[in-house]
């Protein structure tokens, strides 16, 4: 290998290599971007569960929801009260590490609609951004945007269903926190009393944390066997309901992108072959003036390798640009099990507009790099076979 020769052949003749470099760059960019995107989408889709530190969220749809009166405090359509039996049965599963319960309520107040979440769930308490989480029966916390809209602040009083509460804190809902999103937060028993003075243990949301992460789907199935009418949100159900296509893509993502890489490699081998064909004459001259086969081989091999590495490098740059752009594009991941009254949409807490958490996946770059090395070696080997066959006297005969 000789640097003078390499520089001359590589840089003064970059145009003949540009296709190889671009093809490889695009293939690598696609491979890395596609896998990163899918992965990012998954992570985002799973944020709702992650941010409330639960593996399963259980609720129960109402059977006769639309007939009930749309006034005052009432249950959401999709959150009926669990029975004692349901709760005690669920609690018996040994896989469960921790259960947190909540009561989600709708308050229809003079045409205004707001959601109330009563819970003592520590994770939700930790969402307090200013002030403190309410603990007495006359205290509440408000979701930040909601408070801002009504120009309410800590210490102000707030009326719900004729009862006066004082605001002790503001809550900032974590990205993707829709599984525990509400306008107003309060301790569980405050909400229970608000709902009905004689109800003792009303709950319509259960947050389950398991001992073993990977058993979530199994537990979900087990619970559904006993109570088929329950709605259980798990990571799989979020993915299936909101990003069906992505789930399929994820299953095949490695396959698809590997196929792309292989396809690109085939093209690259072809273009490299072509460039060797173009250079047969040069190689013949080199041999005629005394270059040994080994010298020619190592020269051409190095050229091929540098071409491949350049392609890989350019591909990674492309990928970084794409990731940078994608990181600004918000995506929607919805919990489709939620049904809201049509008038309500304005005040349901902003839950969309998440952006994908794109992180640089070193592993994918490593794969791409290894693939590049392989392509370099494979094309190099094929090219070397061709080089060996070039006879200088025959090349020189052609003018």
């Amino acid at each position: 290998m000789n640097t003078i020769f390499l520089k001359a052949e590589f840089f003064r003749n970059i145009s003949s290599r540009i296709y190889s470099i671009l093809f490889l760059a695009l293939a690598i960019c696609f491979f890395v971007s596609f896998n990163t995107f899918i992965d990012g989408y998954f992570q985002t889709a799973l944020l709702p569960l992650k941010n409330i530190d639960a593996h399963l969220v259980i609720k129960k749809s109402m059977s006769n929801n639309l007939t009930t009166e749309m006034k005052g405090i009432r249950l959401p359509f999709s959150n009926d009260i669990f029975s004692e039996n349901e709760i005690s049965t669920i609690k018996k599963f040994s896989l469960i590490h921790e259960i947190n319960s909540a009561l989600l309520l709708w308050d229809m107040d003079q045409g205004k609609f707001r959601t109330i979440l009563g819970t003592n769930f520590n994770k939700i308490k930790s969402w307090i951004s200013t002030g403190k989480y309410p603990y007495s029966e006359s205290e509440i916390a408000l979701e930040k945007h909601f408070a801002k809209f009504y120009q309410l602040k800590i210490g102000d009083s707030f009326k719900i269903n004729g009862k006066i509460f004082s605001i002790t804190g503001l809550i900032e809902i974590k990205e993707g926190g829709q599984l525990a999103a509400a306008n107003i937060y309060m301790p569980l028993n405050t909400a229970q009393k608000l709902f009905s003075s004689d109800a003792i243990n009303t709950q319509n949301l259960l947050y389950l944390k398991l001992n073993q992460n990977e058993k979530a789907e199994m537990l979900k199935d087990d619970i559904l066997k006993i109570f088929p009418y329950l709605k259980i949100t798990s990571s799989d159900s979020i993915l299936e309901s909101s990003v069906g296509m992505i789930v399929i893509a994820k299953k095949f993502s490695f396959f698809i992108s590997t196929l792309t890489l292989l396809f690109a490699f085939a093209i690259i081998i072809k273009t490299m072959m072509f460039s060797i064909h173009e250079r047969t004459h040069d190689i013949g001259i080199l041999k005629a003036i005394g270059w040994t086969n080994n010298e020619v081989k190592s020269q051409i091999f190095t050229e091929t390798f540098i071409t491949a590495l350049t392609g890989c490098f350019v591909g990674i740059i492309f990928n970084l640009i794409i990731l940078y752009i994608l990181s600004f594009i918000p995506i929607n991941i919805q919990d489709t099990s939620e049904i809201l009254p049509s008038s309500a949409s304005s005040f349901v807490v902003e839950k969309n507009g998440m952006t994908l958490p794109f992180t640089i996946k070193w592993k994918l770059y490593l794969y791409a790099f290894i693939a590049t090395i392989m392509i370099g070696v494979i094309t190099g080997k094929i090219i070397i076979q061709k080089i060996l066959k070039i006879k200088p006297s025959e090349v020189l005969r052609r003018i």
Partner: protein, 224 residues
Amino acid sequence: MNENNKYILEAENINKHFEGLHIIKDVSLKIKSGEFVVIHGKSGSGKTTLLSLLSGLEKADTGSIILNKNNINNQTEEELAKTRRQQFGFVFQSFNLLSNLTAIENVMLPLLPITKDISNLKNSSLDIMKYIGIDHRKDHLPSKLSGGEKQRVAISRALINNPQILFADEPTGNLDSTTGKAVIDLFLRLKNERKLTIILVTHDQEIVKLADSVIEIKDGEIVC
């Protein structure tokens, strides 16, 4: 000089076939050191083939080619490459410069893979180019050079390894007569000043007149 090392290159009964055709027929010849030898003959007579055999670019089917008492026709491909690099210089009709290399890089080319001290190689290349009168074009790519200039670069390249024998196949074939004559003058100068052995293929009668000895070839056989 005794009888033995008077001859720098000898061919003994060499034969070459291509696709069943007998192209070089039992050729024997002896070339004296420091001579300007011309191989002359009609088109298709086998001049280029003979030159390729003598210079180790091609192997004879039978016979031997003795260079300094070694039969190079027995050498492997790698050994032949080394022989060409160490002992021979080549000049072709169509110049055969590498289009992506500058003039001086082309001159350095034969020795590039085996040279550690590149700046030294650069200096000796420049010296040769000065001697040949082409140093002012050293940084130009071949596409920017005239035919005569290209051939001077090619001749410089052929001399970089300080060869014993310079092989030239119709070196003036692509040049106009004035430029061609200047190139031949250059060869004569190399012979006289550097005692270089030159084996040159041509069908130009004018060049034949300048030769120390002439190998006339007809249908693959030497006729005189």
